[in-house]
């Protein structure tokens, strides 16, 4: 008998399964390990939030999965999409999955659309790369996709250049472009970060709506726990390229067992905190990934640190079903 309320991950084969993912960059200053032994999975219809501050490696996870790392980047480990190993596939074979099986919405809609091409061709070429459609059919599909992301004048939009659209409109175009081949997994990398606060909310609403409509599994990469609260089923907290805590969204917000997650929660601005003039912040700086530490990456900034944190890497352990954390403390007060 299925347990009601349990995350669906136990009843189904995951759509996306990442194991032991490492991402390294060779730089003039030495090797940087941007992602360190990352592990997660995503099932149909689920939204996983990947949360971390800038430099925590969250964007590199997205790029590594689709083979989009910069020249000096290298990914090792395993990424399985619908049961098929796709990490480091040659570009030709990866192209079948890029856009069609797994699509990406990038952070900055200003620079992620080609400024030299009209919107229409940029949308339809994505479809034509994967499906045997005519140019005309692709244009029609592009038009209805723009309609699906609630752009007011889809036909006019198709003829526009990116610079003729506002930031919010451009992000809608990006989303339409990502969904035009009906992918099963959508990776949204900070989809609302570059936008105004009011537009942000609408884009997130749109993503949630489209997720239901297109039955997407979504990987939502963000630095904003506030974004996660309204959109995600599960959350993975990253720091220094490693997983700090992973749990259902309620467990993260109400039963967090990791000092870093608690720090992030404490740093959320609160409307009811009248009289407090300064925003709370975690003291210190994220660690330099150039000098890997033997212990916990968060050790230097952690209020709860004790001897083992300095020398020993805390393993990712189960707190309860579906709730894991990497912290030497058995239980936080």
């Amino acid at each position: 008998m299925p347990v009601i309320g349990q995350s669906p991950q136990y009843s189904e084969q995951p759509l996306l399964e990442v194991r032991h993912l490492d991402v390294r960059f060779t730089t003039p200053e030495g090797e940087v390990k941007a992602v360190d032994d990352l592990e997660f999975s995503l099932v149909r219809g689920e939204t996983l939030g990947v949360v971390g501050e800038s430099g925590s490696g969250k964007t590199q996870v997205a790029h590594a999965m689709l083979g989009l790392l910069a020249e000096n980047g290298r990914a090792t480990g395993s990424v399985r999409f619908a049961g098929e190993e796709i990490l480091n596939l040659p570009a030709k074979r990866l192209n079948r999955i890029r856009g069609a099986g797994m699509a990406l919405v990038f952070q900055d809609p200003m620079t992620s659309l080609n400024p030299y091409l009209r919107i229409g061709p940029q949308l339809s070429e994505a479809l034509m790369a994967h499906e045997p459609v005519s140019g005309r059919q692709a244009r029609e599909a592009a038009c209805s996709m723009l309609d699906a992301v609630h752009l007011a004048h889809p036909r006019a939009c198709l003829r526009a250049y990116p610079h003729e659209l506002s930031g919010g409109m451009r992000q809608r175009v990006m989303i339409a472009m990502a969904l035009i081949c009906r992918p099963r997994v959508l990776i949204a990398d900070e989809p609302s970060t570059a936008l105004d606060a009011t537009v942000q909310a609408r884009i997130l609403e749109l993503l949630s709506e489209l997720k239901r409509e297109f039955e997407l599994a979504m990987l939502l990469i963000t630095h904003d726990l506030g974004v996660v609260a309204g959109t995600c089923d599960r959350v993975l907290i990253m720091y220094g390229g490693r997983t700090m805590e992973e749990a259902a969204v309620d467990d993260i917000f109400y039963r967090s067992q990791h000092p870093y997650t608690r720090g992030l929660l404490g740093a959320l601005p609160r409307l009811d905190a009248a009289g407090v003039s300064r925003m709370a912040a975690i003291p210190g700086q994220p660690p330099s990934l150039l000098e890997p530490q033997p212990g916990c990456p968060f050790e230097k900034r952690c209020d709860y640190r004790f001897e083992p944190c300095k020398h020993q890497r805390p393993p990712l352990e189960n707190v309860s079903a579906g709730h894991r954390k990497a912290c030497h403390h058995e239980k936080l007060p």
Binding site: H63, L66, L68, A70, E71, A91, K92, L94, N95, R96, I97, R98, G99, A100, A103, L104, F106, D108, T111, S112, L113, N114, P115, Y116, L117, R118, E125, A126, A129, H130, Y161, H163, M174, M177, C181
Partner: protein, 307 residues
């Protein structure tokens, strides 16, 4: 765009006037004159000649007369080819120069852009290093060195191509001068293309294109080529100027009856009107080409608007 073009044309007037003035007075400042021959002519004949060509008038008056003629489209008579006007000489020499120049430009663009793209795609690998080393060599060696070397190899040693002359203007005769003229430009354009292509390939919209699952050649040709060519397009103006100066040397070396050769001979013979005519003609050509290049920019980059 039309208003912009008109404005630019009007703005070209003063530019050309300064050019004419500089060329006119520099030419006159050079020692000697058009009628200093090895065998001196009698003073009476000389005075007659000078009167006929208005060389007895004050310099400023001559300048005014020349500019007034230019405005009417009259480049004046040649001093050395007594039966020809400068206009006729330009009409005779320019098609030859244009043929060589146009072929050289075409070759420079095709070869330069292709080599630049290939180098960018093989960035920091052997092919890239090879192409860029060749380009650096091409830029460093002046064409008056390349031309004799080409003649030595292809005309003297291999005997494949004629070592000079224009003949019937067929490709056989054009080959060596065109290559000699184009080589430095190929090198320069290859370096420009490589640099901008490398930069464009790193831009976020290229990552987007790859994330869509587009094949690599589509990403390069449809998404990256246009922005990568912008610096090349803006170099077309200077490239034309370089080809014109280059042609002066190349036509001399290969003995091609083009405008460049008229120019050199005119300068040596103090054929004032011929030299001035060529300078003004080429000056106007460069001004017009630069305008076309700027307009081309607006065609390539939809964000550029001229008003």
């Amino acid at each position: 765009m039309f208003r912009y073009s008109v404005k630019r044309f009007l703005g070209a007037g003063p530019t050309l006037l300064i050019l004419v003035a500089l060329a006119f007075f520099l030419m006159r400042a050079a020692p000697g004159g058009p009628f200093d021959a090895e065998r001196p002519v009698s003073p009476a004949v000389r005075a007659n000649l000078e009167r006929a060509y208005h060389l007895d008038e004050p310099l400023l008056q001559q300048f005014g007369r020349y500019v007034a003629g230019l405005v009417r489209g009259d480049f004046g008579p040649s001093f050395q080819y007594p039966d020809y006007t400068v206009t006729e000489l330009i009409r005779e020499g320019f098609p030859v120069s244009l043929r060589i120049g146009a072929f050289a430009m075409l070759l420079a663009l095709l070869a330069g852009v292709t080599a630049g793209i290939l180098a960018a795609l093989r960035q920091n690998r052997a092919a890239d290093a090879g192409i860029m080393a060749a380009a650096m060599t091409g830029i460093s060696i002046p064409n008056f060195v390349i031309a004799p070397l080409l003649i030595l190899l292809f005309a003297v040693h291999l005997d494949w191509l004629p070592g000079g002359g224009y003949g019937d203007g067929s490709l056989r005769y054009l080959m060596l001068p065109v290559v000699a003229l184009a080589l430095p430009q190929i090198a320069y354009i290859a370096r420009l293309t490589r640099g901008s292509m490398v930069e464009v390939l790193r831009s976020p919209f290229i990552r987007t294109a790859r994330a869509k699952g587009l094949p690599a050649h589509t990403v390069v040709l449809r998404h990256a080529l246009k922005p990568a060519l912008l610096p090349v397009v803006s170099y077309l103006g200077p490239a034309t100027a370089a080809l014109i100066t280059g042609s002066v040397v190349i036509e001399q070396i290969f003995g091609i009856p083009g405008l460049g050769r008229f120019f050199v001979q005119g300068a040596l013979n103090r054929d004032y009107t011929l030299v001035l005519g060529v300078v003004v003609f080429y000056g106007a050509l460069i001004v017009v080409l630069n305008l076309i290049v700027d307009l081309l920019y607006a065609v390539l980059d939809p964000r550029v608007r001229y008003t």
